[in-house]
Amino acid sequence: MSEVKYLTEFYHLNEFQGLEGYKKNGGYVEAAKALKMKPEEIIDEVKKSGLRGRGGAGFSTGMKWGFLPKNNEPRYLLCNADEGEPGTFKDRLMMERAPHQLIEGMIISAFAINSKKSYIYIRGEYDYPIACVRKAIEEAYAAGYLGKNIFGSGFDHDMDVYVGAGAYICGEETGMISSLEGLKGQPKLKPPFPAVQGYLRKPTIVNNVETLAAVKYIIRDGAQGYKKYGTEKSTGTKLFSVSGNVMKPGNFEVPLGYPLKDLIELAGGMKPGRKLKAVIPGGSSAPVLNAEEAMKATMDYENLASLGTMLGSGAVIVIDDSQCMVDMLGTLTHFYHHESCGQCTPCREGTGWLDKIVHSILEGRGRLQDIDLLIKVADNMKGRTICALSDAAALPVLSFVSKFREEFEFFVREGRSQVKGTNYAQMHH
């Protein structure tokens, strides 16, 4: 089975980046069409399409929009382009290759939820995507697609870019709102959910880049047409970022429900002489699958949940049999410890302990009871904090230790990696 280029149909064309080329290939047709519809009709169509958020949680987009209060209070649309989940690089592609596609999706979405102002919050390191999106916004203003009385509909909308400054936690929607407000990017307790009380305490819809871009296609093909791809509950296509030990890493668009093993093949398969050992199927926060599980997994929300993991952001991290799982877990515990915003004790302390324990094993100071200690610490971090980062840090640990316990035990006993044969210092430093 090959790719289905639905959102990415014209990504190979350089001209698709600019307004002229974008318009030549169907650009802004759906925005013009949508602004003649009733906002409720659009929301209804999005609900019926089954579109689920592509940023990580997979929540129904139409339902989220439906949580907005039914009044005329100002509301904001916030596009999440912080893309910090390790292994994920699809939003970057979308902003580089098709910034107008995102803007068009946002104009339609903003009209549907009656928002006069939106921000695209882009991670600060994305210098080039930021430039692409800024240029496209300028072009859209010049063409009258943003600003006053868009397409003569009487609808006004302003759009701007806000540039982040390096903090994974700003990808969490309430952390992002804090950051946009000019504060530390610390998440806020929910409820109230942003749709009720978000940016500047006003109702705010936060959606991922890929989610908002998809809205254009729901208008183009209708909910029924959109649902042609995917499974009953996981509709549409999805961009998967495949990285790690494959021959041709990259982004691939396929229908949801696509077999993971075929996705690995699309990415060129394993390197010669190497065997698949494990896959993290949905970004670093998703529990790892062993090779056997990976071979039967399909890339939809339901199947991955049934295997105890998740689709997340669609980042597929492929690990081959030359890799040491203790070492790989060390990179993850380091990441979460570094990125915890420190507000909640279980997360702040827990991420610190996990990292310390894994590194003590790596550095040859581990004890056998440390392996169970890892499980205990991780268990205590779940479901008790302001945001999901704490769970996201705990889940990989639990899956690595339970599925590859023998490697952890070997490392403790021998002070070196079972796979590499060497100790940590010899491994890469």
């Binding site: 292994g87 690089f89 690990i319 990179t331």
Partner: protein, 157 residues
């Protein structure tokens, strides 16, 4: 004492009126000032921004310390940030950053004697499919080998 250039000052003023709240201008202004202060935010920078923005220092400090793109101490002319998170680690990113340190005779996060380079390991930069990679100041370099990375650094003016 640090002072913004007149263009820098104009840019900060523009940011101050750009968003719904004045505080939202703190991050963009810190970027502007950091660029004019050899890539880091000193106490001077915060003092000066506080004055021109009419925002308390404590507030600016809180923001700048939270975000990793603001450097709290001097860095080399070229700040070389190698992603060492999982996808990059799987294809030799840590070996790469160690190699660069070895070649440039410097430890991670320190400045080379000639003031040109700082090598750091950082977290995922969204370039996981083109790993190993490094960000040198604003620019990404991808699909690196130890040799190609070193050649790029040698080629910088």
């Amino acid at each position: 004492m640090f002072q913004l250039s007149s263009e820098g000052l104009q840019a900060v003023k523009k940011e101050l009126s750009r968003y719904e709240t004045k505080d939202s201008a703190i991050i963009p202004s810190l970027f502007i000032a950091q660029k004019e202060n050899n890539g880091w935010v000193s106490k001077d920078v915060v003092d000066h921004l506080s004055k021109v923005m009419e925002i308390p220092e404590s507030k600016i400090n809180e923001v700048f310390k939270f975000y990793t793109m603001f450097n709290q101490k001097p860095v080399g002319k070229y700040h070389v940030q190698v992603c060492a998170t999982i996808s990059c680690a799987l294809v030799g990113a840590r070996e790469l950053s160690s190699h660069l340190c070895h070649e440039l005779k410097v430890k991670h996060n320190e400045v080379t004697e000639d003031g040109r380079f700082t090598i750091s390991r950082v977290e995922c930069l969204g370039s996981c499919g083109t790993a190993p990679m490094m960000q040198v100041n604003d620019r990404y370099y991808e699909n690196l080998t130890n040799e190609s990375a070193m050649n790029i650094l040698r080629g910088l003016k």
